[in-house]
Symmetry: C2
Subunit: 482 residues, 2 copies
């Protein structure tokens, strides 16, 4: 990030946080230059960016003013999914999303990719290339079944921050978080079993349940506090549920961090009903606040939490380096991994281990936390400008996803088809439900830099949404929102 970009995102964040109100005059170029120790032209460039983003408006001879902006929209209410075990559907929509990845001219706002353009990531691919050259035997040979010991060692060090104390022998390296969840489910469940999930929840995991013939029950989930413990308890009393999948930290798609007392409550509920918790902590390190939140596993006393994660969001998904700390299921997870996936690529593991060891990981993640937080605030502001009234937007506590709930009449599956023609890809909400709920919602990836292309794309999304809403309203009278 250049100096002026940095300043622009900082100012965007202040506007978003309401430090400067709509219509208020902004500090002069000279003032800001002195305050931030940057040149006049840097400030001018930053203001130009904000003007292009329509966050501020210039007024002849009197400087810049905060552009008019609607009030902060409310957060989505507790979700109300169908609460009985179902087979997961929605594969076609996901295929459409995955297929659109192939066309590199499509703006992938529906994807889960992190920002790969930051300079703090450079030592990673330098290390990767170094490993290949200096370590060809290890790089070309079969990996150990549990994965490279040096990487497992580094992961245990990282996990301390989340209150999770495990040894390197308690960890198994997997091919991404998907590989971790896959080994976990296969080790614990069999076809026909029922597994509970948050609702909405990550479509990849739900397709995995479908792949293994496991039934899914969606549990009401609050966009700030996470899964409803009460609803979960009711479901556990009513159905023979085998386990529950939770993304408790920087949830995908809702962005919440479950408060510690709820994490504790869910563990004791699991104990009482003797079920297993599959914890997916993939975004946990990207919490806005430091130190990062605790894992559910850090409250686990009898090894019933299988903690799954990966470096796909913190570093890069192309590494395919994930891991699992399977608690009491270690042996079964090792078998499941061997049986279904075999071993992993050694090269990327060694590169990540060196990247962590040499302090690059901490530096990179520290930067990304700030970048993503600023991005999400700017995107939220754009959404307020470009979207119709009556929407709800999440206020993520980390990660880089925004979840937007539109008036019930809007069908995002149709909207996203229109957007595909404009080479803009978004993730319609129905992908995040086992049974296709949340058709009026969408998830937007805010990881990408605050460029004018992105600004313009969001404006186009807003336009198509407006049109869809108008069409719907002429066809059917508006109903109360969900």
């Amino acid at each position: 990030m250049t100096r002026y970009q940095y300043l622009a995102t900082l100012l965007a964040q202040r506007i978003e946080q309401g430090l400067w109100k709509s219509g208020e005059k902004l500090p002069s170029v000279r003032q800001l230059s002195a305050e931030h120790g940057v040149s006049i032209s840097t400030v001018q460039q930053a203001y130009q960016v904000l003007e292009n983003l329509q966050l501020i408006t210039p007024q002849a001879r009197s400087g810049y003013f905060v552009a008019p902006c609607k009030a902060q929209p409310p957060v989505p209410a507790m979700s109300r999914p169908v609460q009985r075990p179902v087979d997961v559907t929605q594969w076609d929509e996901i295929m459409t999303l995955l297929e659109s990845r192939k066309d590199k001219t499509v703006l992938a706002l529906g994807s889960g990719s992190p920002d790969l353009s930051q300079t703090t990531l450079k030592p990673l691919w330098r290390e990767l290339s170094r490993q290949v050259q200096h370590n060809p035997d290890t790089v070309l040979g079969y990996d150990d079944l549990a994965g490279k010991a040096e990487l497992r060692q580094q992961i245990t060090r990282l996990m301390v921050d989340s209150g999770t104390l495990v040894s390197a022998d308690d960890i198994v390296i997997t091919s991404g978080c998907q590989g971790a969840l896959s080994a976990a489910l296969l080790a614990v469940c069999k076809p026909g079993d029922i597994v509970a999930v948050e609702s909405p929840s990550f479509y990849g995991t739900m397709q995995m349940l479908r792949g293994f013939g496991i039934k899914t029950i969606e549990i009401p989930t609050d966009s700030c506090l996470g899964i409803s413990i009460e609803a979960l308890e009711l479901a556990l009393e009513q159905w023979p549920i085998k386990g529950i999948i939770l993304v408790p930290n920087c949830n995908n798609p809702l962005g919440f961090i479950m408060p510690d007392d709820r994490k504790r409550a869910v563990v004791s509920l699991a104990q009482r009903h003797d079920i297993v918790i599959f914890e997916d902590d993939i975004y946990g390190e990207l919490a806005n606040d430091y130190p990062r939140p605790r894992t559910v596993k850090s409250f686990d006393i009898d090894g019933r939490v299988l903690l799954c994660s990966s470096f796909s969001k913190t570093l890069a998904p192309g590494l395919r380096v994930g891991w699992i700390a399977p608690g009491r299921y270690l042996d079964r997870v090792l078998h499941a991994k061997y049986a279904t996936a075999g071993t992993n690529v050694p090269a990327t593991q060694l590169a990540v281990a060196a990247f962590i060891r040499d302090g690059h990981y901490t530096r990179h993640v520290r930067r990304m936390r700030r970048v993503y937080q600023q991005n999400m605030e700017a995107w939220t502001c754009w959404v307020r400008q470009d979207f119709p009234d009556g929407i709800c937007v999440t206020r993520p506590a980390g990660g880089y996803m925004l979840w937007i709930e539109l008036p019930e009449q809007v069908d995002m599956v149709c909207v996203s088809r229109c957007l595909a023609k404009l080479k803009i890809q978004v993730a319609p909400g129905s992908m995040f439900s086992a049974s296709g709920k949340y058709r009026n919602c969408l998830r937007i990836n805010c990881a990408q830099p605050l460029t004018e292309t992105n600004r313009e794309a969001l404006r186009q999304i807003g336009n198509v949404v407006y049109e869809a809403l108008e069409d719907a309203n002429t066809l059917t009278p508006p109903k109360a929102p969900v």
Copy 2:
């Protein structure tokens, strides 16, 4: 390989093939030097290697003679497994084998690794490092669901040699052959289904069946001709078998290549009984003879053969690049891959694609075919020298594995435990049976160069086998061999 090593393996092969008989005088150093256009000292070094390997003996002032060698042992007879569906066991033995990989001082004769020391492999890791440096965005980002198009394109070109005509869109890249088989089984089978396998057969695949809760029925298999079509037919009439897993080319562990008429017969049998064929062609490119054998899939007319393979044996297992041509099951395989494994590492795919495109693949595989064939012949000769009478040894038509059947009293599980103390790892035969048959057999990996360390290791294996045989004979009177 240096010049003298090359000459040594060539001479070893001639001795093994019986061109020079036991006790016969070998050509003089001068003669060989002229014949091969190499220096006197190169020939002397080569003879020194052969002497160290005890293939030849020097006689003062009269030159070198072929060392006394026992007659060629017979090949193993048709196997006679238990012919009913069972749950696969033997995981403990496999874990022991996999665990011993961690100790780099152990000589891994039980592993499946190819020779990674050849110079023809160098362009591969140069390419890998180049991709990382010049293509960081692609390397770090999420892969396409089906894998990199350029690699799929190159694979279709390679497959032409095996009579298999598919397009790049018919191919899905997987994490090794294990990933391919896993997606194939998950796409077609559900727990409780029965799948037939050759007997003996690769333990990794059988553990996969166990992992998915699929029952296994082992079918009698001939060490030269492959699976018994008659026995398979009988089994199909008796049990509701869903599919059959075949390694028809350079079989692991038996080394046979199924003749074309049998390949055709198995396809029409599959049609008649409407079952699926999971074809594992991982060693198919390493057939001794050129051109390489046809795939079973090349006889398939209605898309019921799912062809699985990888570059783990031809190039390097640490790449984790495999693929599947799933015929009519393409959509289900894509879902199974997405659901259980996610996407793959782009870097190694791009490196392999470039390696093939630039002609390095053909060069490397051509060399490896010759190297492995020479190795296996030298190892066979050592086995004849060091092992007791009454053994059977396969005569592999490709790959790099030898399968040795010992007198029935020898328990290779115990022998391999003794060998582990000597830091020598072999694969006991029982790993290759669903129900622990073939305890009197072992598989030896002959991929590694003909070094004195390997020569000495085989001598030690022979010693422990002799001891085990003696112990067994003093305890129980010898029975007729299997």
